[in-house]
Amino acid sequence: MRKIIKKYLVYVLLVITLIFCAIGITIAYAHNDHPEIPPPKENYNDETLCVEPVEVMRKEHFTFVLDHRDKTVIDGIRTKKHSLIECIECHITANAKGEYARYSEETHFCASCHQFAAVNIDCFQCHADRPEEAIRKAINPNQTVDQSSEQKIQHYLQFSNAEH
């Protein structure tokens, strides 16, 4: 019995791997239709459009952000060009209904690509995934009407759990 298992184990594993690959590719293609993402607020300039040429940003944006993050946290350098806050401020805009997507939704600028490319980042576990205006609105949707603290905690926990 053991010998038989040993003999065929490699083949079985191979087949399982192939099946998983096939499923993966199928799912990837099924998600190929890009969701509609609200456009950025404005171009940084007419030449490069974004803070760096768009092609460069697509491939390298994280190196700019990571480099800038250490400079900001450790040295207190607060230039805006490669600041994540500014990325979010410009790229995450409201849709026609005036709603801002969270990172957990695929219409979020960052998530739209990361979900497709199966990139897992932890930036937004801590950082704001929407402009300050949208965050403040989410914290207090009714703006001037005072919510009871209980309601706010419920609202908070609801989204806190939805993140997972």
Partner: protein, 267 residues
């Protein structure tokens, strides 16, 4: 210019402390008025207005240096026992939520009431990160996530914090909190998230943009107590240095010889 105005105008939100809970309230009309006013100002005498507003700030592209050492002087004679405006302001400023779990909820600044066992005299004071010159939390951190900035502000770099909590064991002031749950809706200038340790940042985001004040000190002044004075300990002409020279200021746990950046008078 639009960005500059949005970020440099820190009067966007108004504090509402009608209840004990932290309440976020954005007064739209006031907000718009302020923005328009700022715009008008910016348009008429820009960039002079902005330059004036950020006169104390270092240029954005330059690293902080040890030219300044930011600190705080707390006058316990003025601090009121029943007032927690500083705490509310801090929570508001950094989006610290009260989740109804007092054992694990974060507190960057808290009010202590201390009663002399001999005389019965009660003193009230705010306690937070003391921004030591020789911080024990920085000594024990295995990954250098706890660090002291060149200008004396002690911070946690959450990108390298692994959540071991050794710094919390080492802190003599119980000034640090561990984030015990996943968070959402963090404010852009105050990123924070599950599994890292955090503490008072001396409002580093405000310091860097040249506000030259902290949320707690602003709130205390607004309530008319002025128990908290923020300033540059390295500048002999700063108000805090003058006050310290005139009235003195003690360190808490001075026996540890940590040379704290936060000093107390009236103790």
């Amino acid at each position: 210019m639009r960005y500059k105005l949005e970020i440099d105008t820190n009067i966007d939100h108004v504090l509402n402390d009608s209840s004990d809970d932290v309440v976020y309230e954005v007064d739209l009309e006031r907000r718009n008025f302020l923005r328009n006013a700022a715009l008008v100002g910016g348009l008429t005498i820009a960039p002079g207005v902005m330059l004036y507003q950020t006169a104390h700030a270092k240029p954005d592209d330059e690293p902080v240096t040890d030219k300044h050492r930011w600190g705080m002087l707390i006058d316990t004679n003025v601090c009121q026992e029943d007032c927690d405006a500083c705490v509310t302001a801090c929570n508001e400023e950094h989006g610290l939520w009260d989740l109804g779990r007092p054992k694990t909820d974060a507190q960057w600044i808290r009010k202590l009431n201390i009663k002399d066992k001999l005389t019965g005299h009660v003193t009230s004071l705010p306690m937070m990160c003391q921004h030591c010159e020789h911080p024990p939390c920085v000594d024990v951190c295995p990954t250098r996530a706890s660090f002291k900035r060149a200008d004396g502000i002690v911070l946690v770099n959450p990108h390298t914090c692994i959540g071991c909590r050794y710094c919390m064991m080492a802190c003599p002031y119980k000034a640090r909190s561990f984030i015990h749950e996943p968070l959402v809706d963090q404010l852009p200038h105050a990123p924070r998230g599950k599994g890292c340790v955090e503490s008072c940042t001396l409002c580093v985001h405000k310091v860097d943009r040249g506000d030259n004040n902290t949320a707690c000190a602003e709130a205390c002044a607004k309530d008319g107590h002025q128990a908290l004075l923020f300033g540059d300990l390295n500048d002999p002409n700063s108000e805090i240095s003058k006050q310290l020279e005139k009235h003195g200021g003690v360190q808490i746990r001075a026996d540890l010889n940590l040379n704290t950046g936060v000093r107390y008078s009236g103790l």
